[in-house]
Symmetry: C2
Subunit: 130 residues, 2 copies
């Protein structure tokens, strides 16, 4: 498992880690159950801060690409292969595009959308419907 980070790249380091690990899962370089380097270990190797690597791992775990088992380390998720195909970001963009489109059609300004969104974000009004 080769992981490199380009500090000068357009993508922020944590995103590069995510991209590379996802790619490794897809091309078979990483198989379900395989252990990943520890946060501190990888951070040291890449000369990154622990928090940066931890962030990447946290996001990967949310997407069920990786699974953290506490003191035992982090491993590739059983269904990582399938989950690596899912692009959560695309779904998010789709959802937002749909809503934004509706708002714009109503004549709402982009500035108003941003302002309102900032307001909503700070109003932890999580009307749960999960």
């Amino acid at each position: 498992m080769e992981i490199t980070v380009d500090l000068n790249g357009a993508e922020p380091p944590f995103a590069q880690l995510i991209s590379q690990i996802r790619a490794a899962v897809q091309n078979g370089a990483l198989s379900p159950g395989d252990p990943l380097p520890s946060i501190r270990q990888l951070a040291t190797d890449l000369e990154l801060n622990n928090k940066t690597v931890a962030k990447a791992y946290r996001l990967l775990e949310r997407d069920s690409i990786v699974e953290s088992r506490g003191y035992r380390g982090t491993f590739v998720h059983r269904e990582a292969r399938a989950n690596s195909e899912v692009d959560l970001n695309a779904w998010v963009a789709e959802q937002l595009a749909e809503t934004v489109g509706r708002l714009r059609d109503a004549g709402v300004t982009d500035a108003e959308i941003r302002t309102s969104l900032a307001f909503v974000m700070n109003e932890r009004s999580t009307q749960g419907e999960s």
Copy 2:
């Protein structure tokens, strides 16, 4: 029709104009059909830039509180009274809260939501569903 602007207030000037005109419509100080001062006139009186007043008028026209008749000036909309009760901003907030809530429930980070939104906003060229 008395309009004043407090440059030191929290609300930006253009928003103050909107608020006061909406209020004037509601309390009867302004009636449907009444003429409003011209953009340049009001800007001069309040020592504001034409663009600032024009912006307020533009937003008010979008909400059908006011009606611009080109070279003839700007007048209070026929149904301004009823439309002044409508709070477009509340509807926008509701729409966004609904979408944001759904995204959050899916584990999407607020940062990701903001990033994705910024991306969607700049994709003016993509699909149209009006």
